[in-house]
């Protein structure tokens, strides 16, 4: 247990918490300027999410993909790569899961779902692998490739849905086979029809896997070493190129799984995208707020999902436009990035404490 708390050292716990508080204050100030009541707004935000089981369940639904894309971005960060392409990998994961969920028939109930999930994860991983390969072998900047691949993924999956899966006259694919569904019927009933699915559990397990793999395994050590200093890692006899590709692949698997859960557990079909869903980009923010630590990401995804989902309640209860919540999230990220401000404000507390010790 002690070890568990050690993970949350001063910097990794207090700074985000204060940043969150500051973010909420900035949001409140902006609401005041706009003539809204920030107290009513925030209380209706939280009472929306925690007020009844349905909304609580739907908030969990909102949180799940954010955990996955957050992990994806953080995993790459930890290995010195900026995977801004989680969005594309997420979309590809969705599409692969749809194809397997719709077109593959005759598989028994659990097997089909597992196959579809794996297909989504692997497809996302391969998609990110393209970026990793080009980075490793050709030295192309991963940021640029993965951004471009986001759009490629968007239109590619629209092409697949439009040509192979579409219901005529609709903007969406056929429904997936019942055998591929990962919805949990009894849990949904318990949460008054909120869309609950197994993906949430897998997402938590994925965070645990992230932690163990990154810090407790030799491969994880190599990945981190490559991230810290590629040249040193190479000198130590590690295969830098292989590690870059591996890191991108695993990162992509996380994002791809997130997409697969969305299709198999929430929508049960795939609509044509009119624009990027944005979950992958939100994952960057989640990773930043979570300080790139898997357990931090669990918490920050909960925060991010709560705020996003609750923003509808905020406009419902206090007539505050939901965009305000984006300002809050933006300022939280700002304060986390600009840690100096947070430390500077907190300094008096620590000075005092030191003095007390001296006395």
């Amino acid at each position: 247990m002690n070890k568990f708390f050690k993970i949350f050292s001063f910097n990794s716990l207090v700074v985000p918490l204060v940043a969150i508080l500051f973010g909420l204050i900035v949001g409140a100030i902006i609401m005041l300027i706009g003539g809204y009541n920030p107290l009513l707004a925030y209380s209706s935000l939280f009472s929306t999410v925690f007020g009844n089981l349905y909304d609580f369940g739907e908030a969990i639904r909102e949180i799940t993909p954010l955990i996955m894309t957050g992990l994806a971005v953080a995993f790459a960060f930890r290995t010195g790569l900026f995977n801004i392409g989680a969005e594309g990998q997420y979309i590809i994961g969705m599409t692969a899961a749809s194809v397997v969920g719709i077109k593959v028939t005759g598989l028994p109930i659990v097997v089909h779902a597992v196959v579809a999930i794996i297909a989504g994860g692997v497809a996302g991983g391969l998609w990110a692998g393209i970026t990793g390969y080009l980075k490793a072998k050709r030295g192309v900047n991963e940021v640029i490739i993965s951004i471009m691949l986001n759009w490629t993924a968007l239109y590619f999956s629209n092409y697949i849905v439009r040509n192979f899966l579409l219901i005529k006259g609709q903007q969406r694919s056929e429904d997936i086979q019942d055998t591929a569904s990962i919805s949990i019927g009894w849990l949904s009933t318990m949460f008054s029809d909120a869309r609950m699915h197994w993906g949430t559990l897998i997402a938590v397990l994925a965070a645990v896997f992230f932690y163990i793999f990154m810090w407790k395994s030799k491969q994880g050590y190599e990945l981190r070493a490559v991230g810290h200093n590629g040249d040193a890692a190479k000198y130590a006899g590690m295969n830098v190129k292989k590690n870059i590709i591996k890191a991108m692949f695993i990162s992509g698997v996380f994002a791809g799984l997130g997409g697969a859960f969305q299709v198999l557990g929430v929508f049960h079909n795939q609509a044509l995208f009119t624009g990027s869903p944005g979950v992958g980009f939100d994952g960057i923010a989640v990773a930043l707020i979570g300080m790139n630590h898997p357990f931090g990401i669990l918490l920050s995804a909960i925060l991010f999902g709560t705020l996003t989902y609750g923003s509808a309640g905020m406009s419902f209860g206090a007539d505050v436009p939901p965009e305000i919540i984006r300002i809050v999230i933006g300022s939280i990220i700002f304060f986390i990035a600009a840690q100096g401000i947070v430390r500077w404000v907190l300094k008096p507390f620590y000075l005092k404490r030191k003095k007390e010790k001296v006395l």
Binding site: Y42, E58, Q170, F316
Partner: protein, 339 residues
């Protein structure tokens, strides 16, 4: 000095924590107050276009705003950021025991059906899609008939004999606009050429602008758009071109868009009676006569037609021609295709 700043920041922090505590108390009061209100509560869920789309979401909301003012009902709207939001947004009203929940747009059809099935006691209504549930009232429009009339206007007034159509997405609703428009243009001007283009989205003004630019460049001088907010881009492109001295027109959709974008670019608008329909069905709930089912509003029912301000830009003889066609469609002499 520094210390003061620091201290004040710390106080703000502490203050906000205290305030946050107060917030909860207030909330219980507020929800207690809500119960006391006895009048009809109506909720509206927009599609991803949002309530300020200057198009049909806005028309629908304006109808509810009107009822709020005149009949004292409580009306609220929720905008959907993405497709995931439809079900929770609808449910927010349904679980809060609203007397009627509106879903605006074809896109919400499936989700209205889901929610209606799960909550057989709730009353729901939808525009532009047919949902076959006993507690849902579906309103669709014969857009093809209205589009035919603006097609007649475009066909009669084009100088280049080339007109274009910008659609949001290839769904049945928009398809009705497209084929009706085309039929109307060709009826009035068999030599005219109609170019069809789809933006693939209802919320992408930038794409609308790009599409409009390429259509105008190809020599089309009148564009008809049926693309929600994407159409804002079409209008902007036309405004830019008119400013640089090249006269082009846009035909608006859903509501009288000349009020929004000006008479200089808006030739006319094909008005869809979304407002009227929302008003009517909501009134049925107020009067207690609400029934599930579906209805299609066409020219005969005054559900579609030309905007009242059309006479500003459309000459008398063309309007007369339009009126002729209108009578013929109503009498059934002309059958406007739907797909």
């Amino acid at each position: 000095m520094k210390k003061i700043v620091k201290l004040s920041l710390v106080t703000v922090l502490a203050f906000s924590v205290v305030l946050a505590g107060c917030g909860k108390k207030e909330d219980t009061n507020a929800s207690g107050g809500d119960v006391a209100k006895s009048s009809v509560k109506v909720g509206l869920v927009t599609d991803v276009g949002g309530v300020n789309d200057k198009s049909f979401n806005q028309s629908a909301w304006e109808a509810l705003e009107g009822l709020q003012k005149n009949k004292g009902i409580t009306a609220k709207y929720l905008q959907s950021k993405s497709k995931e939001d439809y079900v929770p947004n609808l449910n927010k009203y349904v679980k809060d025991k609203y007397d009627l929940t509106w879903g605006i747009g074809f896109d919400l059809g499936e989700d209205i059906k889901t929610v209606a099935k799960q909550n057989p006691d709730a009353k729901l209504a939808i525009i532009d899609a047919i949902v076959d549930e006993p507690n849902v009232h579906s309103v669709t429009f014969a857009e093809n008939e209205g589009a035919f009339l603006v097609g007649v206007v475009a066909g009669s007034m084009t100088k280049t004999n080339k007109v274009g159509f910008v659609g949001g997405a290839e769904i049945p609703v928009i398809k009705r606009f497209e084929v009706g428009f085309k039929a109307g243009v060709l009826a009035a001007n068999p030599k005219a050429e109609v170019t069809i283009n789809y933006a693939g989205a209802f919320d992408k003004p930038d794409q609308g602008k790009a599409l409009a630019a390429s259509l105008y460049n190809a020599g089309n001088d009148i564009l008809f758009h049926a693309s929600g907010q994407t159409g804002t881009g079409v209008f902007n492109e036309a405004i830019d071109r008119n400013k640089s001295g090249k006269k082009v027109w846009v035909i608006g959709v859903d509501k009288d868009q000349s009020l929004e974008f000006g008479d200089d670019v808006t030739l006319t608008s094909m008005v869809k009676g979304v407002s009227t329909a929302v008003d009517k069905i909501t009134n049925e709930v107020i009067d207690g006569t609400f029934k599930g089912g579906s209805e299609t509003l066409g020219l005969k029912e005054n559900g579609v037609g030309l905007a009242d301000t059309s006479s500003k830009n459309v000459p008398e003889d063309v309007l007369k021609k339009v009126e002729d066609y209108k009578q013929k469609i109503i009498s059934g002499e002309i059958k406007v295709p739907t797909e």
